[in-house]
């Protein structure tokens, strides 16, 4: 057998050279991020379609490692409409988790950087005045006038300071004026991201054990989320909210409020994490393999819970998983990713009943289905290409059984098969022309 060509041993000299180069590149990105005053014009944009909650356009997230640049997410674009569930499927290492981390601004720096692209998110933020203070909403009496709480006279200047009664919600949180803004999360400063994270976009991680802090009780951790994002809320108010949320996810709050994460089972922990994600009524929930670590019976419980909650809070869900069954059940729209690129998007019906890309077809054929007797499973030959030194042609070409001459050329462009169904494959390039003629 011939020696493997793919093995490329890197000398220490080369390693040092790339490391040096990487430091230069990553420093530039970090500097951009760490600026103290970032003008609003840089990160406030407009949505392309007002029905969408999130629009990802041409996203590139690279990891600058010593052995080379890993293009974990390479030109990914898709939208999440209001109230819909979008499922992202793909094998491990295809960039689905990195996409979600890019949305949250949690890509591990300085090696990982969002190099290019836009993530637009419609956000409801608290309005600020010129001094950067929130503008309160005051409670009005019958005559439509503000209720005076106290009057004070500043002794030095002789000015009269009047405090009015501010509106409060049921948990005691003060209400401020809100405005709707569209943020480009890639360019938004960290302080703005911190306001959005957990309040507008919440994330459910794969492993509930590692995403809960082992030294704080469940109650403390849940309260903290609410206290942080709602200025003025009392501890009792936060506790009441925590109780409500725990009830919503099907846990008896008295049992777990004072417990520590290690005292709960895996399913319970995942429920707690979901409750935490729901604390501030987020508009978008990102579930990064929320059920992969759980048993099937618990998975069924959690999926039902997510479906219920979505209708209750009218939010959107971005569900990342490698389990096609879960996607088929939950998602309205499906995005199939392979080696850092989106290869096919469409509604769940289109992807499962009429899959077009050979990879999507292979993925579905290789999953054993109950009550479907097959002697041999179809298996996609070969492995995912090395993320360093990706080829210029279609990444799936070497594993594809329908590859043709064209495939050795450039990476295929997206073909619009139906209004919602797009695929990146040369097999359907002609079809588009036919469609255009008709």
């Amino acid at each position: 057998m011939a020696e493997n060509k793919h093995v490329h041993r890197i000398s220490a000299k080369e390693l040092r050279a790339t490391a040096k180069q990487n430091i230069k590149i990553t420093k530039r990105y970090e500097k951009l991020k760490k600026r103290k005053y970032i003008p609003e014009s840089e990160y406030v944009t407009e949505m392309k379609d007002s029905n969408n909650v999130l629009e990802i356009e041409n996203l590139h997230t690279y990891f600058f490692t010593d052995v080379g640049t890993v293009k974990a997410v390479n030109s990914v674009s898709f939208n999440i409409p209001q109230g819909a569930t979008v499922g992202i499927v793909g094998e491990s290492g295809c960039g689905k988790s990195v996409t979600s981390l890019s949305v949250m601004g949690l890509v591990q720096g300085p090696t990982g950087q969002v190099v290019d692209g836009e993530i637009r998110f419609k956000s409801e933020v608290l309005k600020t005045d010129e001094k950067g203070k929130y503008i309160p909403v005051y409670e009005l009496d019958e005559n439509g006038e503000k209720i005076v709480l106290s009057e004070k006279i500043n002794k030095r200047t002789g000015e009269k300071i009047v405090t009015y009664k501010q509106k409060q919600d049921e948990t005691g949180g003060y209400i401020f004026e809100k405005e709707s803004k569209v943020y480009n999360l890639v360019r938004a400063p960290r302080s703005e991201l911190a306001k959005i994270r957990g309040r507008e976009i919440a994330m459910i991680f794969q492993e509930p054990m590692t995403s809960l802090n082992p030294v704080f009780t469940i109650g403390q951790q849940l309260d903290e989320v609410y206290l942080l994002h709602n200025p003025g809320v009392s501890k009792e108010g936060a506790k009441a909210r925590t109780y409500d949320m725990l009830k919503l996810v099907g846990i008896i709050p008295e049992n777990v409020y004072t417990r520590y994460p290690h005292e709960l089972s895996g399913g319970m922990r995942q429920r707690v994490v979901i409750a935490m994600a729901l604390m501030c009524n987020p508009r978008l929930i990102i579930g990064d393999e929320p059920t992969t670590a759980l048993d099937v019976t618990i998975q069924a419980q959690i999926l039902e819970l997510l479906r219920d909650i979505k209708t209750k809070i009218n939010g959107s869900i971005m569900l990342i998983t490698h389990d096609l069954g879960v996607i088929a059940e939950m998602a309205d729209f499906v995005v199939v990713m392979y080696a850092g690129r989106v290869i096919e998007t469409g509604t769940a019906m289109e992807i499962f009943c009429n899959p077009l890309h050979p990879y999507t077809i292979g993925l579905q054929k290789s999953k054993p289905v109950v009550n479907q007797n097959k002697e041999r499973l179809y298996s996609i030959p070969g492995n995912v290409p090395n993320p360093i030194e990706m080829p210029t042609h279609c990444y799936f070409k070497d594993r594809c059984d329908r590859a043709c001459e064209k495939c050795s050329g450039e990476y295929p462009a997206y073909v619009q098969v139906s209004p919602t169904h797009t695929v990146a494959c040369y097999l359907y390039q002609d079809q588009k022309k036919e469609g255009a003629d008709v």
Binding site: M1, E3, N4, E91, S92, S265, G266, G267, M268, D295, V296, T297, I298, Q299, A300, Q301, L303, E304, H322, D323, L324, G325, V326, I327, A328, E329, A348, M349, F352, C353, G362, L363, Q364, S366, K367, P368, V369, V370, N371, K374, R376, L377, Y378, S379, I380, N383
Partner: protein, 351 residues
């Protein structure tokens, strides 16, 4: 436990003695028990046990596969390890090829070791990072003298080729491989000894879907070629359904249902099996399933519920379930279920 199981045992035991021929099942497990002490008194005598495996019996023929399914913590893995005697056994009997190995010491077990192998769940932690692939696969071959020393290297390469590993991987180390290839190495290591029985402890659950299919196909090919019997432990029901001839469902250390694959999937009898099967997500959005969603979590095995262990989550729970432990009954031919719902079924069959 029950008289019935004892009866079964009595029936089986003499027949084994009579005909120690090729018809002998490769593995027979009778009333296997494995308790772990969790609390002990002042003198170190255990006072409370965690009953990881409690009364499990099954028979496995040569070249066949039995699938063991159940939630995490139900004792599947402990059972697999107990069969290989990687744990000491608390009670019960294990017959390997008609020979009772329950009481065998380590040195007595040695000749059996090459005939029974295991493939672990995590291909990342079950390969030594300091040995190259050739050494990993060849080590046991050398110890057990499978082939003469002069042909050793050749043999290992041959095995590697069989498992879809290129022969120039011989000098490489485990960290250079992806998860799927590592699992191939684990399979090669097990197969190199030409075993008659392999315990597959969740061999594909750490792998991607497309790689999963490759490994399952490889396991099936090897079974056909070498007539190996598998005990296939997994929580993924669709995978178990694909590979097994017989399926056993476990819940909290008990075997609640056992039978041929087609019977179990076409007609699941135990409420737990029914719920388990209805929880499998179906990759077809057109099919809307009628879900039976189990409430609550699996109870702690160190403090299991009284009576039927499943009664806390069972929809069809009756009074009798809370007090009496159900007995495994043959409701259909070869199809055993331990549930009070089918108490009458057996009675009818007798009449």
């Amino acid at each position: 436990m029950s008289n019935q199981v004892e009866e079964m045992q009595n029936e089986v035991a003499p027949s084994v003695a009579e005909q120690a021929t090729a018809n002998t099942p490769i593995l027979e497990v009778h009333n296997l028990k494995k308790y772990f002490p969790v609390e002990s008194n002042f003198f170190g005598k255990p006072t409370r046990y965690l009953r990881a495996v409690d009364d499990v019996s099954f028979t496995l023929q040569r070249g066949k596969t039995i699938g063991i399914v159940g939630e995490s913590g139900c004792g599947k893995t402990t059972m697999g390890r107990s069969i290989l005697k990687l744990h000491d056994i608390t009670g019960g009997q294990i017959l390997f090829d008609g020979e009772d190995i329950t009481k065998y010491t380590r040195s007595q077990m040695r000749p059996f070791r090459k005939r029974m192998q295991i493939i672990f769940q995590d291909p990342y932690s079950s390969l030594s990072p300091r040995l190259n692939i050739g050494e990993i696969i060849g080590e046991a071959v050398k110890v057990h003298n499978i082939v003469p020393a002069s042909k050793h290297k050749e043999y290992v390469r041959e095995i590697m080729q069989k498992c879809g590993l290129q022969s120039h991987f011989y000098d490489r180390y485990p960290h250079e491989f992806s998860g799927g290839q590592r699992q191939r190495i684990c399979i090669a290591r097990a197969i190199a000894l030409q075993p008659e029985l392999i315990i597959c402890d969740e061999p594909v659950s750490a792998l991607d879907v497309s790689i999963q299919a490759q490994i399952i196909n490889l396991l099936k090919d090897m079974q056909k070629e070498m007539n190996i019997a598998y005990v296939f432990i997994s929580h993924d029901l669709s995978v178990v359904e694909h590979i097994s001839d017989e399926i056993a469902v476990m819940y909290l250390g008990n075997m609640v249902e056992k039978g041929p694959k087609t019977n179990i999937f076409a007609n699941p009898l135990h409420p737990y099996t029914q719920a388990l099967f209805s929880a499998i997500p179906n990759p077809d959005p057109r099919v809307k399933m009628h879900r039976q969603i189990l409430r609550g979590d699996i109870p702690s095995p160190s403090n299991p519920p009284s009576g039927c262990k499943f009664h806390t989550r069972c929809e069809k729970c009756m009074e009798i379930c809370k007090t009496q432990v159900p007995v495994s009954r043959e409701v259909e031919p070869e199809h055993f279920v331990a549930c009070h719902l089918y108490n009458d079924a057996k009675g009818n069959a007798d009449e």
